[in-house]
């Protein structure tokens, strides 16, 4: 075993984790743990942009951005948090520029901005140019820039360490994490006054997803096992334009730059559903439009996909502003987007839910917002909640920069007065037992079989449109998979870079996330944002203008409600 002591440990080296690390670097003794090399983190796959009301190309205001965020989230957004998000977005984007991020520029040298779904001028009048971008590789530029800053500030990286456990004292303080070093299989205890979970999402619980294979929800599932609730798990975003069958993301920027969705008859169907914003309606709605078209037999050739049409755009615009996504279409589909439409379908993309936090990134335990001292979360793993029932495009990057930074700064204030909590008597006990168990099972089902079964049922029964019958079936299947997990066996029994073992550990985390998603989705008997119930098709503010908290207890799952904070914008019907 190896023992390390730091002031704070950050788990996850994507945008949120690195942004927090940069606040702390040089001022506190910190470590950043990542199961990949930091620049491989999934922030790097973000494409279209990061919104901020800079107003560089047309009039804009943070309050318009806040309104769009609240409305886009179908009024489940905590509005105090949305205000922080949209106010601080401006400064956060400028900070990224100062760090060297190579944004596209306007002719006069300022950060260029473009249109994105659900972002409007003057409270919904029409689309506004708010998304700051670097071609269609904005996330790549963010992860590279933040990693560069991490190097500049001598951040201590523990690369390719797999998170096994999060440690708490008996009186409920967070005191560190346990990891497995991939290269050696060695177990490490990282003892710290504060822990930040910034491990991203869990799109891999679904069959068709834009998420990286690393997106398995480890950082959400492990605290959940230790009694920390997960919030709003039923809200999972399906991005309308994933490459057919593969799920690889084709940015909303394609539609922001003028791309159009067409059904099998060639009709631009979005305007039938959203007359004002058309193809730039929020993602939850556009995904449902596609679902409706396919259900009505209007998919391409009657099949379960539609087309993203860029053929009317100037070829030089495609090359300059959408080079990567058009390259994906060429590489994976053999389709030339300048002359042919691209087959697309909704793809599992983003978790609005996660570890509940306040606006300082502190994880909270209940509807009274009781905190866990020393325990923080930010980015997709967290639920502040700034995205409510449906996140707007570009707001994930805003979230991780703004709240990663806030969490880092709050930790900086917390650390000097905090004492190092004692470790539990045998801190690695749970982690070691789990690994020994997996390594010593003689025979059983493969992790891949269970994983595929879970991904199938989640895609089939718990995606864009849901109902009680299907979800009950999914729940039974998840229960079966959880039971079968106790008997799965792996081939690799070694200690060196055992990815067979880490994939099995990840599956365990995904089962927990899937279970929480289904529990939330079954409980919430209404339709709101990304959560659409065929058996409860309307929004029910009387009963459900509330967050859900799901707890894993020895007596089974418990659901609780947490009120939504409303400051400026009263809930209204959501039309675009």
């Amino acid at each position: 075993m190896a023992y390390h002591r730091f002031d704070a440990v950050i788990v996850g080296a994507g945008g949120a984790g690195l942004m927090a690390a940069i606040q702390l670097a040089g001022k506190a003794n910190i470590a950043v743990v990542s199961k990949l090399y930091p620049p491989r983190s999934h922030t790097g796959a973000a494409q279209g942009g990061i919104s901020a009301s800079l107003g560089n190309t047309e009039e804009d205001h943070w309050k318009w951005h806040m309104f769009d965020t609240v409305k886009g989230g179908d009024y489940l957004v905590d509005q105090d948090a949305a205000e922080v998000l949209c106010r601080e977005a401006v400064d956060a984007v400028l900070e990224l520029e100062h760090m060297g991020l190579p944004f596209n520029r306007t002719p006069d040298g300022r950060i260029d901005q473009r249109r994105f779904g659900g972002h409007t001028r003057n409270y919904g009048e029409g689309p506004v140019r708010r998304a700051c971008y670097a071609a269609d590789r904005t996330g790549h530029m963010i992860i590279q820039t933040l990693y560069q800053q991490g190097i500049k500030h001598n951040v201590n990286f523990l690369d390719e360490h797999h998170l096994l456990d999060v440690l708490f004292t008996d009186d409920g303080r967070c005191c560190g994490v346990v990891t497995m070093e991939q290269r050696t299989g060695e177990i490490h205890t990282v003892h710290a006054k504060a822990v930040l979970i910034a491990t991203g999402g869990f799109g891999r619980v679904f069959k068709v997803t834009s998420n990286a294979m690393a997106g398995t929800g480890d950082g959400c599932a492990i605290p959940y096992r230790r009694g920390v609730p997960l919030m709003d798990m039923e809200f999972y975003q399906f991005h309308p334009t994933g490459i057919y069958k593969l799920g690889i993301l084709l940015s909303e920027a394609a539609r922001g730059e003028g791309g159009i969705l067409r059904n099998g008859a060639g009709e631009a169907f979005a305007e039938r559903y959203a007359p004002t914003l058309k193809d730039l309606a929020p993602r939850d709605m556009v995904s449902r439009f596609i679902h409706e078209e396919v259900k009505a037999g209007r998919g391409v050739n009657g099949e379960d996909f539609v087309h993203l049409d860029l053929t009317h755009l100037p070829p030089e615009l495609i090359d300059a502003k959408l080079p990567d996504i058009t390259d994906f279409a060429r590489t994976y589909l053999g389709v030339e987007p300048k002359t042919e439409p691209i087959p697309i379908q909704p793809t599992a993309h983003y978790a609005m839910g996660g570890l509940p936090t306040d606006v300082e990134g502190r994880v909270i335990l209940d509807e009274e917002s009781r905190i866990v001292p020393g325990f923080y979360s930010a980015g997709e793993a967290a639920c502040v909640s700034v995205h409510g029932a449906n996140r707007l495009g570009t707001n994930s990057l805003v979230d991780l920069v703004v709240f990663g930074r806030r969490a880092g700064r709050h930790m900086l204030g917390f650390l000097p007065d905090a004492e190092l909590p004692p470790l539990p008597s045998d801190p690695e006990f749970t982690a070691r037992a789990q690994i020994a168990d997996l390594l010593n099972r003689p025979k059983g089902e493969r992790a891949s079989e269970l994983r595929e079964a879970m991904q199938e049922v989640m895609m089939d029964k718990v995606s864009v449109v849901r109902d009680a019958v299907g979800m009950t079936e999914a729940q039974r299947e998840i229960d079966r998979i959880r039971l079968a997990y106790k008997n799965l066996a792996i081939d690799d029994r070694g200690t060196c870079f055992n990815t067979d073992l880490s994939e099995a550990l990840e599956l365990g985390c995904m089962i927990d996330c899937a279970e929480a998603i289904v529990a939330g989705a079954l409980a919430r008997e209404e339709s709101r944002g990304a959560h659409f119930r065929d058996d409860f098709q309307t929004r029910d503010d009387k009963n459900w203008l509330a967050h859900t908290l799901v707890y894993r207890t020895s007596g089974g799952l418990q659901m609780r409600k947490k009120p939504v904070t409303i400051t400026e914008f009263e809930p209204k019907e959501r039309k675009y």
């Binding site: 950060i111 990286a212 690889i248 994906f328 081939d491």
Partner: protein, 232 residues
């Protein structure tokens, strides 16, 4: 269709040296090599070990030698490769296990060129100005995903472990030609040493290997020219 993957395997815990092992997989022509490898790992042999994450060519995890050329396993399709595909780890760095190589030296070289903006003149409440032309000047080298395909395709890297390698030079170029940066002279000094750009023999393997289409050799030449003619 049936395809045979011939994969170079090495487990330090059990093997004295690396050896090829063959697997027959049933794939679609449009499947990625990564899909075929996943099929092996998930259906046949869970001990097969490789890095992977995004599965669409942007995270840089799964660079390997596929039919003798450095490629990302997630960005090359089966139909481009024939019925028998040879997969080996990248050359030049120590193999940890199967296709997983030791990246320490790669990242050390990267860090050695100070790959971050050096500038102390940030304005407070606005962005620095940069014209679209100035931005375009270094666009190509911003695309690097640090996959190491270029550096491990370079014969100079294979024989001279002190050479910083193409990827480090690409990342130096990204800042040297950024109008906002003030560290160009410092980086050029680093690249003007024994381990720097002059080791490059303009072989173009790096350009061929880059999965992001970066003109790596051209970037290296531009750094050389900046040193010769003081154009920065």
């Amino acid at each position: 269709m049936e395809v045979t993957l011939r994969i170079k395997r090495y487990n330090p815990e059990t093997d004295a040296k690396a050896a090829f092992k063959e697997y027959v997989v049933d794939v679609e022509p449009t499947d990625r090599v990564l899909d075929a490898m996943n099929q092996v790992k998930w259906k046949h042999d869970g001990t097969l070990t490789y890095r992977r994450s995004c599965a669409h060519g942007v995270c840089g995890s799964d660079a390997m030698r596929i039919n003798g050329r450095n490629r990302l396993a997630c960005k090359i399709l089966m139909k481009e490769l024939g019925k028998k595909i040879t997969i080996e780890p990248l050359i030049g760095y120590k193999v940890i296990k199967d296709l997983v190589i030791d990246m320490d030296q790669f990242f050390d070289s990267y860090k050695a060129v100070k790959p971050y903006l050096i500038a102390d003149d940030a304005p407070s409440a606005v962005e620095r100005r940069q014209s679209p032309e100035q931005r375009e000047r270094y666009d190509d080298t911003t695309k690097c995903i640090l996959c190491a395909a270029c550096t491990t395709s370079c014969p100079i890297t294979w024989t001279n472990e002190r050479f910083v390698g193409p990827a480090a030079i690409v990342n130096a170029h990204r800042f040297i030609f950024d109008s906002r940066d003030q560290g160009g002279a410092e980086r050029l000094r680093i690249l003007n040493t024994q381990s720097g750009v002059w080791r490059c023999r303009t072989i173009f393997n790096c350009t061929d290997a880059c999965p992001r289409g970066i003109e790596v050799t051209k970037a290296i030449e531009e750094v050389k020219r900046a040193l010769l003619f003081e154009t920065v």
